[in-house]
């Protein structure tokens, strides 16, 4: 049984329109992968599909995690297996406080059916809030209601910190963060990162990758991974833009997978 997330030949469509067109990607435990690609190339589609959003139809392919093809599983079962997504656009849940929500989420994954003791939970939550430099008053606020863009992103990472996933997908967690917040959040992610965790960081900007250093960088175009490289690929991309990638992989022709062997 592997804790790696192994995506094989994934084809996904929305309302009949193909978005992912044969995507292969493996996120290993203990490694950070960056995923970059132009707007609309399908990055969030990949993230939602991995979590099991009902609007995304899987036409072909498999996703293996913890010894199972998780495409058959409900989103909550995927979560309980250790998969986590920090949303690009977090959802507001009126009337549900951050603390209450985190407690529900923690209780949902207690295998013995017992509930986590309130003092233990409070301590855990407050520790993690401190890690992310969040004011304790946040715990009492309704989830994402009236949160600023940056606060929402921070609240996503707070959830990651509390749930301690095996594989975490961060979908543009840097967008909406000011430079100080970016450092704090990145530092939080680095603190959470450990040899048993794998992270897929979806981003448009090198500035996040300056703080969360990827081991591997992938470029996505039109629903596929078209290039894979080391951390320097992200820098190259920032300097040269996606037209350079298109030229590299042959713009007019069907996109080619560039297989890079990792050490």
């Amino acid at each position: 049984m592997s804790n790696d997330l192994d995506i094989r030949n994934l084809h996904v469509s929305i309302e009949g329109k193909p978005i992912l067109k044969g995507l292969d990607l493996t996120v290993e435990q203990g490694r950070i992968h960056a995923l970059m690609g132009p707007n609309g190339s399908g990055k969030s589609t990949l993230a939602y599909t991995l979590m099991g959003h009902p609007a995304y139809d899987v036409d072909e392919g498999e996703v293996w995690f913890q010894g199972e093809n998780i495409l058959e599983l409900a989103p909550d079962d995927r979560s309980k297996l250790g998969l986590f997504l920090a949303f690009q656009y977090p959802v507001t849940i009126p009337g549900v406080s951050v603390a209450n929500f985190l407690r529900l989420a923690m209780n949902a994954r207690q295998t013995d059916g017992k509930k986590i003791a309130i003092p233990a939970f409070r301590k855990l939550m407050l520790d993690k809030m401190k890690l992310l430099d969040m004011d304790p008053s946040f715990a009492g606020r309704y989830l994402n209601e009236g949160f600023s863009g940056g606060e929402k992103k921070r609240a996503e990472i707070l959830q990651m910190a509390v749930l301690n996933p095996t594989i975490a997908i961060l979908d543009e967690t840097d967008s909406g963060l000011d430079i100080d917040a970016l450092k704090i959040v990145a530092n939080g992610v680095n603190t959470l990162m450990n040899p048993d965790m794998g992270i897929l960081v979806i981003t448009h900007y090198q500035r996040l990758l300056n703080y969360i250093k990827p081991d591997v960088t992938h470029v996505m175009l039109d629903g596929r991974i078209v290039m894979t490289g080391g951390p320097e690929l992200a820098e190259e991309l920032e300097a040269q833009g996606y037209d350079w990638v298109r030229q590299q992989v042959g713009l007019a022709e069907p996109v080619i997978d560039v297989e890079l062997v990792e050490e």
């Binding site: 989103p75 909550d76 849940i93 549900v96 989420a105 749930l163």
Partner: protein, 434 residues
């Protein structure tokens, strides 16, 4: 039809009424106008409601039930304990009979009365007899007339001047005879500067044969007095319930109505705060949860008769399965009611495609210097909310529960009594599990 005095069941006829009076169960004091009420009942048609079909309700199908039935164990247990911290008093009526009426002796010593409305109205000169029927008239419609003709037992609660009662007065109306008709009747008088909270719950076992409950509640709120009336409508899901509640609110006085609308197969409620003196105010809070084939038709009226009166209404409903709700909220501001403020908000959340809600807030404003607004929304549960919560490990059912709890939260926060919050949350859980 002739009726023997031992008969438990009798048609809703004039003979039955005569028999009730003969047996001393319904006092025949002319002020109560039993005969006139019956005549009004016989003459009136069933109310015609725009969105609720009452044509299938045949009142002839039901028979009067007077004798007390079997109370549920938890209520029986409550009647055995005298916890004056928890409650100021306890009144329990089963079918047409009062089975328990008890008041904290310290309050009785201060002139508070809690007891049988029938007894309180036997002499025409009594406070109760003078006010009974003055807030809700017998001939308002067929159902108020029916109640006014046939009610027995009944609660009379009297709070004298300057007496503030801390703990709630608990009131239970119970019914348990299939095919039976019950007529809960309440009269509350809070004199000047008095304060009291009433927590009424109406209950009946679940069953297949319908049961009819037509209730009338009258509340008189004296100058500067404060009354909070919490009403948990928990009739079994075979009940057909007609509810008429009105408060006459005096100068600088306040009535809070808090509704938990949970039970009955078909319910029509009419709740009014008549703000007849300067500075009178009302708050109306409601949570409603419909499941199965339940139909709840809720009508509220914040009636601003006098100047400087305030109204604030917040109702929220959740519907699942094929449940149906109608909410009509009216703000009425009379020509003399300058400087009135009135706000009304109603929101409904649909958990299924087959559920349906109509929300019709309306304003009738005849004064020119007022502030009033209303808003209503009906929305379906958002799949993206469910998905988001699921990605954190909550099952669909747990996610739905979290969303429903969150939806009711703004009202729960305004229901300050913890015991009531707990009762409501239990009821929501039960409804979500069903």
């Amino acid at each position: 039809m002739t009726l023997t005095t031992t008969s438990m069941r009798a048609a809703l006829t004039h003979d039955t009424l005569d028999d009730l009076i003969r047996r001393g169960l319904a006092s025949a004091d002319p002020r109560q106008g039993r005969a006139a009420a019956f005549a009004a009942f016989a003459a009136a048609d069933m109310p015609r409601l725009e969105r609720t079909d009452l044509s299938k309700v045949h009142l002839d199908d039901f028979h009067l039930v007077v004798e007390a039935g079997d109370l549920p164990a938890d209520i029986r247990a409550t009647t055995r304990s005298e916890d004056h911290e928890q409650r100021a008093g306890l009144f329990v009526q089963s079918n047409g009979e009062i089975v328990h009426a008890q008041l904290n002796p310290a309050l009785a010593a201060r002139g508070v009365i809690l007891g049988s409305l029938s007894q309180a109205t036997t002499t025409a000169a009594s406070k109760a007899a003078k006010r009974l029927g003055s807030v809700v008239r017998a001939d308002e419609d067929k159902l108020t007339a029916l109640n006014s003709a046939f009610w027995t037992g009944g609660l009379f609660l009297y709070v004298p001047r300057n007496v503030a009662i801390e703990a709630p007065v608990q009131v239970v109306f119970h019914a348990d005879v299939p095919g039976g008709a019950v007529f809960p009747r309440v009269l509350v008088i809070a004199e000047e500067n008095a304060a009291v909270t009433i927590l009424e719950e109406t209950i009946s076992p679940v069953g297949d044969t319908p049961l009819l409950a037509a209730s009338v509640t009258e509340v008189i709120v004296g100058p500067n007095a404060q009354v909070k009336y919490i009403h948990l409508q928990n009739w079994g899901d075979n009940a057909i319930a007609f509810i008429t509640q009105r408060a006459d609110v005096g100068r600088d006085a306040a009535i809070n109505w808090t509704h938990g609308i949970l039970g009955a197969s078909l319910m029509r409620s009419f709740t009014e705060s008549r703000l007849g003196a300067e500075g009178a105010s009302t708050e109306m809070l409601g949570v409603q949860f419909g499941s199965g084939n339940q139909h709840h038709d809720i009508f509220t009226l914040m009636n601003h008769v006098a100047p400087l009166t305030d109204g604030d209404l917040l109702f929220r409903g959740v519907l699942r399965d094929r449940a149906r709700s109608v909410f009509e909220g009216l703000i009425k501001i009379h020509p003399g009611a300058q400087d009135a403020n009135s706000y009304l908000h109603d929101n409904t959340l649909l958990l299924s495609k087959e559920a349906r809600a109509d929300s019709i807030p309306s304003l009738e404003i005849e004064a020119n210097q007022v502030r009033a607004s209303h808003g209503a929304t009906v929305s379906e549960i958002d799949e993206d909310w469910i998905f988001y919560l699921q990605t954190r490990g909550l099952s669909r059912a747990q996610a739905t529960r979290a969303i429903v709890d969150g939806f009711f939260e703004p009202i729960m926060q305004r229901i300050t009594l913890e015991s009531v919050q707990d009762r409501l949350r239990e009821a929501f859980d039960r409804k979500l599990d069903a």
